[in-house]
């Protein structure tokens, strides 16, 4: 299935990134790249540094060493707001939605950066502001339709079951029309049916919008089915990189997952 997808040029690359908290070295000289339109997975056992890697890409952590290249711009590090501005959107392992707000409002916040009207126009609900709001509402409605969440449009997110919240969070990230979408364990804590749905949505998003997706996941089976290429981390180091089949056959990956002593 993944062969049918059209991977393009390198859009994001990570060069020799190292990150340490005090004495703990979370990432050690990790390098890899992500091509446009591909689904790129970062996997590894618990504590391998997957989340740290994602947080570096998203500007939450600032690496001590190394560079990140997005399109033609190079960064030593960035902050979250800047990352969002550059078109990096993400979801969180333990869901960071606005629980008191409706699904619709949550998705609308995803488009906040795209809104240009000033404060006064907005407050007075002037023509341009109204047009802008409607235009963004339309974009959001398309995502609602795409993710099949019409029936909960007006429901406060806090009242939804876990699986649906995950879907809403994916929707909010999509609403930003990201260049790169980071998914932090999108399948964590889901039952089989929800996992299958989520897989379908990730593939659909990739196919329909052509979104480049970087996902980290603990569950190896799921990842192998939907990814084009896989990076394997273990103890903060990259131990393998390649197609799912290559990675699966790699001895050090097998060792890492089986917990062979280092």
């Amino acid at each position: 299935m993944s062969a049918a997808r059209r991977a393009g040029d390198v859009i994001l690359s990570v060069q020799d990134v190292s990150l340490a908290f005090g004495g703990v070295r979370a990432l050690q000289e990790v390098s890899f790249d992500v091509c446009e339109h591909e689904i790129r997975a970062i996997i590894g056992p618990n504590g391998a540094g997957k989340s740290s890697m994602l947080n570096v890409l998203n500007g939450v952590y600032h690496p001590q060493q190394g560079k990140i290249r997005l399109r033609n711009k190079e960064f030593a590090d960035m902050d979250s707001h800047q990352a969002a501005d550059l078109g990096i959107a993400r979801t969180f392992q333990n869901i960071a939605l606005f629980k008191g707000m409706s699904v619709l409002d949550n998705l609308m916040t995803g488009r906040n950066l795209k809104m240009r009207c000033n404060f006064l126009q907005q407050a007075l609900w002037l023509g341009p502001a109204k047009r802008e709001e409607l235009e963004h509402r339309r974009a959001v409605e398309e995502i609602i339709d795409f993710l099949e969440i019409q029936h909960i449009r007006k429901t406060p997110v806090g009242r939804l079951p876990y699986g649906l919240q995950k879907r809403v969070e994916l929707g909010r990230a999509l609403a930003a029309e990201p260049a790169v979408l980071l998914l932090d364990e999108p399948m964590a804590g889901m039952n089989l049916e929800e996992k299958r749905d989520m897989c379908r949505f990730i593939l659909d998003v990739n196919d329909h919008y052509g979104t480049t997706i970087v996902l980290i996941e603990h569950d190896m089976g799921v990842v192998m089915d939907i990814s084009d290429r896989v990076v394997v981390l273990d103890y903060g180091r990259k131990i393998a990189d390649g197609s799912p089949d290559e990675v699966r056959g790699n001895q050090s990956v097998v060792d890492a997952y089986l917990g062979v002593a280092h």
């Binding site: 979250s80 707001h81 990352a83 606005f98 008191g100 707000m101 906040n112 009207c117 939804l160």
Partner: protein, 300 residues
């Protein structure tokens, strides 16, 4: 018959006083909603705003010019507060932020008296604080013209804020920030920006409250204590709800006036100064999240 009329007169007086409490409570709610901080300095901001305005007019400034300039000062104050006090303290425990606002209180109080002096001022907005004639003649009900005016101002303010919160991108961002900081950052909502706006809006609300209270009680240091009156209102209405601040204010205002008149004689009077707290305490026992407070719904 006159009994009934008297009752309604007391009730109306109480409700209108309640509007004034609500106005102050509103300032607290705004900041608490957006940043989760109980802004101890709100009272000082009210005082500072009123004092600045009254001092400017006393120096012969035109009413509107003074108003605009004071508003600008309050907005600036909000922005500076965010920059100097809050930003360095980002990700600190709430108690630290709370302490910081206490510090801010003293700075503001000191600053205002340093600049404008410490003597009390009278304030006149051109609306007389006298009973409305046709009401008293026709129904024999005494309701102050000024009270009614304040009620309208407060109502207008709430309407504006409601539109602001629900209609605009900034309002939505504000609610988002109030809901979850991390998530707000992830979708690219600039926290600092939003906080500055909230503090500026709180400054604006403080100005309105300061002017109305200033007319009633004179602009003096005691104005900072109106913040204490807002506390029971907040407990009643919930710290996060604009609607709650209004309804809470009305309930507190009405109940304390009624208590003063109908219960006061039996316990020797002076009820008005503490009755609000009793109401708030009783309420705490039954509904700790407040009348309109957001019940946190968590699903696992």
């Amino acid at each position: 018959m006159s009994e009934v009329i008297f009752f309604f007169e007391v009730l109306a007086g109480g409700l209108l006083a309640g509007v004034m409490y609500a106005l102050v409570a509103l300032g607290f709610v705004l900041i608490y909603k957006a940043s989760g901080v109980f802004n101890f300095a709100q009272g000082a901001m009210v005082f500072f705003a009123a004092l600045t305005f009254v001092s400017l007019t006393e120096r012969g400034w035109n009413f509107w010019l003074a108003l605009v300039v004071t508003l600008a000062v309050m907005v600036l104050l909000g922005i500076v507060t965010e920059r100097v006090v809050l930003r360095p303290l980002v990700n600190q425990p709430q108690i630290t932020l709370f302490m910081a606002t206490i510090g801010l209180t003293f700075v503001l109080e000191g600053l205002s008296q340093l600049i404008w002096g410490s003597q009390p001022h009278g304030l006149e907005l051109g609306i007389p604080d006298v009973p409305m004639e046709w009401l008293s003649q026709k129904w024999n009900v005494n309701i102050s013209q000024f009270d009614l005016f304040s009620a309208f101002v407060a109502g207008g303010l709430v309407a504006v804020l409601a539109v602001f919160f629900h209609r605009t991108r900034i309002g939505r961002a504000l609610r988002a920030v109030a809901d979850d900081h991390q998530a707000a950052l992830a979708v690219g909502i600039p926290l600092q920006h939003i906080w500055a706006i909230v503090w500026a809006v709180a400054g604006f609300v403080a100005l309105v409250a300061g002017l109305l209270w200033g007319v009633r009680n004179g602009v003096q240091f005691a104005l900072t204590f109106v913040a204490l009156k807002a506390l029971p209102v907040l407990i009643l209405g919930g710290f996060e709800s604009i609607m709650g601040a209004i309804v809470g204010g009305l309930i507190i205002g009405a109940s304390e006036k009624l208590a003063e008149v109908y219960v006061g004689p039996f316990v020797g009077g002076g009820i008005e100064s503490w009755f609000a707290y009793v109401v708030a305490l009783v309420f705490l026992l039954f509904r700790p999240e407040g009348l309109f407070g957001e019940k946190i719904i968590d699903r696992v």
